[in-house]
């Protein structure tokens, strides 16, 4: 099942400059696996060395943050649109 994923501008260099991709999977986790499987250089910018999504990387299914759903187990439908959204943090 293909689901549309919007690629944020700073990560498009890893996806052949494509702004969106049709990726395979029935859950957010499966979709992200398909994404990093196809574009392995993306992985270090999405996941930390502990193998978990970096804290500042947020995934939305339509307008819902998956933290408020079932995290990466959130089921997706072909009509859904997945967005990868940074929360920007920093400091001294």
């Amino acid at each position: 099942m293909a689901v549309k994923v919007l690629i944020p501008a700073p990560l498009r260099r890893y996806t052949g400059d494509q702004e969106s991709l049709e990726l395979e999977g029935g859950s957010v986790g499966e979709i992200l696996d398909d994404l990093t499987g196809r574009y392995s250089e993306l992985k270090k910018h999405l996941y930390g060395e502990d193998g978990k999504l970096r804290n500042f990387v947020n995934v939305y299914v339509n307008d819902e943050d998956i933290r408020h759903l079932q995290q990466q187990g959130t089921a997706v439908q072909p009509t859904d649109v997945i967005s990868i959204v940074p929360s920007i943090a920093g400091g001294l």
Partner: protein, 153 residues
């Protein structure tokens, strides 16, 4: 990488840093990516520092807004919508370092993506001082970015 800005935009960022001192200020840089890799800043988009809510995002580390800032994904999406309404994109972010040099910290580095500009203004005793911009390379290391300043407003 080059970030092209004008004097008024830099003035707005410096003023924001002075206004929130001794807390950090933060905001988004809205503009255009040029085919040659240059970024052109079209508008400064100030955002409220919401670091106090950082725990929700797994980012809280006990530090305060004097040493940390947060732009939530919802605020980011608002900025992104504002950019797209003008035919622009989010091209980076800015924040202040109160009483600290304009150099990115390890915390900055851990929370960065490539391509974006990370503009930092040092604010010393309430007065904006040095201003630098950085981009993350493919090895996730920050590299200093050339800031090309124009007088055009």
């Amino acid at each position: 990488m080059t970030l092209t800005v004008n004097e008024a935009q830099l003035g707005a960022i410096r003023a924001h840093g002075e206004r929130t001192y001794p807390r950090e200020c933060c905001g988004l840089l809205l503009g255009r990516f040029e085919p040659d890799g240059e970024k052109i800043l079209c508008s400064v988009y100030p955002v409220e520092n919401t670091w106090e809510g950082a725990g929700e995002f797994g980012l809280g580390d006990g530090e305060g807004e004097e040493r940390r800032f947060l732009i939530t994904p919802d605020d980011y999406r608002s900025g992104e919508r504002a950019a797209r309404s003008q035919g622009w994109e989010v091209i980076g972010t800015y924040h202040s370092h109160p009483d600290h040099p304009a150099r990115p910290s390890e915390f900055d580095r851990g929370n960065a993506w490539p391509v974006y500009s990370y503009l930092i203004v040092s604010v010393q005793n309430g007065q904006a001082a040095d201003l630098t911009s950085w981009t993350l390379d493919d090895e996730r290391q920050f590299q200093l970015e050339t800031v090309h300043q124009t007088t055009e407003v």
